[in-house]
């Protein structure tokens, strides 16, 4: 069996093994149903990156990044074309979660909160230019866009207003998803964690 130190040094090791090949579509599926569940319950968060979080935690940052990328490509080609460009954000989220998990930042509830903030910053930094290019800085979520409108009306730079709009939405979403992923990961059977982790 591999030791923990080996796992740390092999964080970036990636092979498209049978286990990873089936984990990635499952992660995309989890993203999709979690989003559908959040929409069904009318929650103020998307939860659409839960699968990407879990794939990164189970099989490392590369697997998580690929899950995120494929998630947005499939979503874009079947439901919402513009979401394809946000694949870059999903790659960033996958990599950030993978690194933070490998460095032990998903080991306790307190650390998860710090991780969630870092992931929200990563997500907002990557999404802001895309929001500005495609939507003039808006996100499409009413209360975030109201904040954007107030800031732009008060002559704040579009980039800052757009970042704030995205960040306030992201912080809430990523904190919820990070805690959900943390709780779910702790409930997973050890044989499952080992199966996806060792099969590289």
């Amino acid at each position: 069996m591999k030791t923990e130190s080996i796992h740390r040094t092999s964080m970036w090791k990636f092979k498209l093994s049978a286990a990873t090949m089936t984990l990635i579509p499952a992660a995309v599926g989890i993203n999709y149903v979690a989003k559908a569940l959040a929409e069904g319950l009318k929650l103020p968060v998307w939860l659409g990156s839960l699968g990407t979080f879990l794939a990164s935690m189970l099989a490392g940052p590369v697997a998580g990044a690929i899950s995120g990328f494929i998630n947005n490509v499939i979503y874009g080609l079947t439901l919402s074309p513009i979401s394809t460009v946000y694949a870059i954000t999903s790659i960033g989220i996958g990599i950030a979660v993978g690194i933070l998990h490998a460095k032990g930042w998903f080991s306790s509830a307190k650390r998860v909160f710090v991780s969630a903030i870092i992931i929200a910053i990563v997500s907002a930094v990557i999404s802001t230019p895309l929001n500005v290019i495609f939507w003039g800085g808006q996100t499409g979520i009413a209360w975030g866009d109201s904040l954007f409108a107030v800031m732009v009306a008060n002559h704040a730079p579009v980039w800052l207003a757009s970042f704030t709009d995205e960040f306030v939405l992201d912080i809430l979403d990523k904190v919820c998803v990070a805690y959900l992923a943390f709780f779910i990961y702790r409930q997973l059977p050890q044989r499952m964690i080992r199966f996806f982790r060792d099969d590289k």
């Binding site: 579509p25 499952a26 319950l41 997973l188």
Partner: protein
């Protein structure tokens, strides 16, 4: 997403004009239309591209998915018109007033340009979405040289998804029978998500493990694997690829040139 015709390809077996265009040419067409839309700020050109996209859709087929995507985007474009029309930083010329609120020309034109670009992308992608099935894409991608493992990852999502959705409905029903119901406050609602998500994730990952073991047992890694054959007959494949790629390069070059000459 769960539409069977989308998964299995041309359902009736009747070949129409768009079946003769290969998936990569359709993707290049989306890229060209998007680049042309981004390269220009001329609203007439944007209107022409939107009309072109609409005609492509009308002469192929219109699906509810495209209508939904359009509906969501139109709402967002409307909010963009309001916000930019009122607060765009370069606003100077008042165009019209509604109950004493001034809407500015510069902001409205800016929002219309952005909105048109979004519509062009949605309409062009809509054409790809309604005319290309997932299995057709997979076969074509594998024939074009993409590794079958990558094709499997892309394609299996579309088959696994209905299974996961089915599992979710079963788990939701079971939890409702046990008395776990959606609550009123946000915290209560979030807590009520856990009894559904935990079993759902474990079941999904468990099924992935089973699928992975069966793939290994069936020799999925066999190097002498036979590639899937596409039943579609495409026309002018290399001509379309070369023409559309050339157009994309020219458009990118044009955009870069206008940016650089603007800086000088």
């Amino acid at each position: 997403m769960t539409d069977q015709s989308m998964l299995s390809g041309n359902p009736a077996g009747k070949s129409r004009w768009f079946n003769a265009i290969d998936p990569i040419s359709k993707l290049l067409l989306i890229l060209d239309m998007a680049l042309l839309s981004f390269a220009s700020t001329n609203l007439l050109l944007e209107a022409g591209l939107i009309t072109g996209g609409l005609l492509l859709l009308l002469f192929s087929k219109v699906s509810s998915t495209t209508v939904k995507a359009l509906g969501f985007s139109l709402f967002l474009i409307f909010t963009m018109l309001v916000i930019q029309g009122l607060f765009y930083s370069k606003n100077q010329t008042v165009w019209f007033s509604i109950i004493g609120i001034n809407f500015y020309k510069e902001g409205l034109i800016y929002a219309t340009t952005l909105g048109s670009r979004v519509l062009v992308i949605i309409l062009a992608s809509g054409f790809f979405m309604v005319t290309t099935s997932i299995s057709e894409n997979a076969k074509y991608l594998e024939q074009s040289g993409l590794s079958y493992k990558t094709v499997y990852v892309l394609m299996s999502v579309c088959y696994i998804l209905p299974e996961i959705m089915g599992n979710m409905r079963k788990i939701q029903q079971a939890q409702r029978v046990r008395g776990v119901n959606p609550q009123k406050t946000v915290i209560q609602k979030l807590k009520s998500v856990l009894p559904v998500l935990i079993p759902l994730v474990i079941k999904t990952l468990d099924q992935s493990m089973t699928r992975s073991i069966s793939l290994q047992l069936r020799g999925f890694d066999n190097p002498n694997r036979k590639a899937l054959k596409s039943t579609n007959r495409y026309r002018l494949v290399s001509g379309l690829h070369i023409g559309l790629t050339f157009a994309a390069i020219i458009l990118i070059g044009w955009k870069l040139w206008t940016k650089i000459s603007g800086l000088l």
